[in-house]
Point group: C2
Chain length 416, copies 2
Amino acid sequence: MTYPLLNRLRVIESSAFIAAPLAGLTLAQFGADVIRVDMIGGGIDYARMPRMPHPAGKGRSLYWTALNKGKRSIAIDLRQAEGREIVQALATAPGPEAGIFLTNVGTPWLAHDVLADRRADVVTCTIQGNGDGSTAVDYTVNCATGYPSITGGGSAQNPVNHVLPAWDIACAYQAAFAVVAAVDRRRRTGEGAQLQLALSDVAFTTLSHLGVLTEAEVLQQERPSLGNHLYGAFGRDFATADGGRVMVAAISAGQWKALVTCCGVSDDIRGIERRLGLDFTDEAQRFEGRDAIARLIEPWFAARTQAAAEAELERHRVCWGRYSSVRELLQNDGRVGADNPVFERMTTPGVGRHLAAGTPIRVAALTREATEPAALLGTHTDEVLHGVLGLDGAAIGRLHDAGIVAGPERDPSVAA
Amino acid sequence: MTYPLLNRLRVIESSAFIAAPLAGLTLAQFGADVIRVDMIGGGIDYARMPRMPHPAGKGRSLYWTALNKGKRSIAIDLRQAEGREIVQALATAPGPEAGIFLTNVGTPWLAHDVLADRRADVVTCTIQGNGDGSTAVDYTVNCATGYPSITGGGSAQNPVNHVLPAWDIACAYQAAFAVVAAVDRRRRTGEGAQLQLALSDVAFTTLSHLGVLTEAEVLQQERPSLGNHLYGAFGRDFATADGGRVMVAAISAGQWKALVTCCGVSDDIRGIERRLGLDFTDEAQRFEGRDAIARLIEPWFAARTQAAAEAELERHRVCWGRYSSVRELLQNDGRVGADNPVFERMTTPGVGRHLAAGTPIRVAALTREATEPAALLGTHTDEVLHGVLGLDGAAIGRLHDAGIVAGPERDPSVAA
């Protein structure tokens, strides 16, 4: 679902993979008219796994269709000068809501200066791997952050990569923020902006914002490898009698009290505190005594089914969560489904009917509008050329004939 | 470093932990005047680990000081009606740049409707655990996403929690985006906005945006647990002769060709392709043959020191990254340090001199301004009461005398 919050801001997106497409999606979900420009036949990310099954291997990518919901698609031969000229014209089209360009591709002919020659107040946002323009991806940035040495049972010799592309995600949402801030400023001052955002800068600045860099610099200490314990207070996963697994967190004083009461271990906790000389009302001392605490409450979980444990955790207002697979999440968790207004059901060509998310942001008193599914490549080629650039039917026909633009690709799920 | 991009937008923040403080920091780094309101003596997150050493345990939190750079601090007794009234007045103070309230605390007397009664066009952004207002934290949300079952060597029976609070971070940057979009809209329409953002919605919508939900729903498949392999193409970590470790990624065709050339394995790769009936120019087939590829190139890394391997990877333009601890990152990686303009050095009271990050976003032609370090609690109490609410010295003095507000706390590193 999208909200008409951004007044149909028009963003031209030339992108691949996650960071820029997710930034564009974020803007689209707040009502921007995001036009994604792709090479005829699709760009480098167009067939990325997972893909729909198809006899000739032409199934649509569930990755691409997820990241490009709610956008318009124009397909252009970017190797031809006239194709490039069209993209430049789109990115610098007139109007207070237009003149916004988002990319993580780094094409010289779409550089800020090139576009600013056509429209002085253009707002461009370029996502890079590193700030010097060199290549980096989420995986080659994350390994430098120190996290793989402390994730799970990881160590310097046996690092554990996390699977979530967390830096791409953070980068995307920062980029959407920066674009809106720059457009807001343009409204006030008339000035455009050249925004650049490097994936590695997003990761390393976030390390600083979480205190991790200063801890290493000032205290000369590294975080310990904690398995599934959380850092700085008490929290860990526990197995239930029937093979289930729950995570509990006791960060605040109230959460700690709830956990102790729920598990009926107040007296034992006092015993452990005396034995270890710790005061567990202090979160840092709970962290210090984490192994003893975990051993004490393990039997409580092991003696109960997941359902019974969850009912008691809930009744005592413990902060807890259930481990689930994605299919279990879809089946059993009411937070994921069409009953949650941040989700809707849609039909994507070549994919079928499925659940899809809109913006996670709820805006009271504004009506959510249905999100358009990811378009077949080139679906909006003609309407964009006409509506944005003012080309007439003859001019558009000539571009098609010359192979400079293409209309909608075939839906791979429809028999020829 | 901060940019004067947001025209001194004034944001009142009542917050704890990561999501709302990091959203406020993001706004501050784009030039917003963020005033964090805290209970006299500090809120629930004020002593969160890691902390500076101190004989009486009063060392400042490196977590809190990292997340609250560049903000002003006012200390108020929030249990007293008059204290609450001051916070309400701050959040709804007049002016086109004011009337913005950011929270993840969920206090009823700071609910949107209460504030909108005082200023109809107030913009509020409330970060919650779950959309129904119930509690959830990063750890109890992440366990439901399916990621712990596929991170590292994780499984449903032995899930691996990642350590990075990725959902808090994503939530923070989404919140900053939403606030700026709503303020931009307020400028155009005169209307305020009640924004709500749940941590679990951020996580589950992101799963949808990455195609993970649709994969499970439409294809009825779960991602495999991959150890340190990346999904959908080729990439993994490799050990060097001297105990180092590098991550390589071959997602694009160019990256794959570079890796094969660098490791000198073109002929062997063709042999594996024939044997397995795969075509590694297709990224999905590289993923299918990942184990054979990894075994083939392991010896190349094992035969070289880290320095030698890195030099050759770089020369061949392979997409690679080095595993490092945080201290190694600070010492050896030029991307983290004062030579990178997204970083600066600052002196934080109670902490000392250290490196700190500004916004990762580079805005060409705008001058970065130095970031103020995290203030001692209550440092700006008087100037905020005077500058924002217009109170005179006598009124401010009375509030101090009545214990309703407090001035700067003592710097714990300075002898009494």
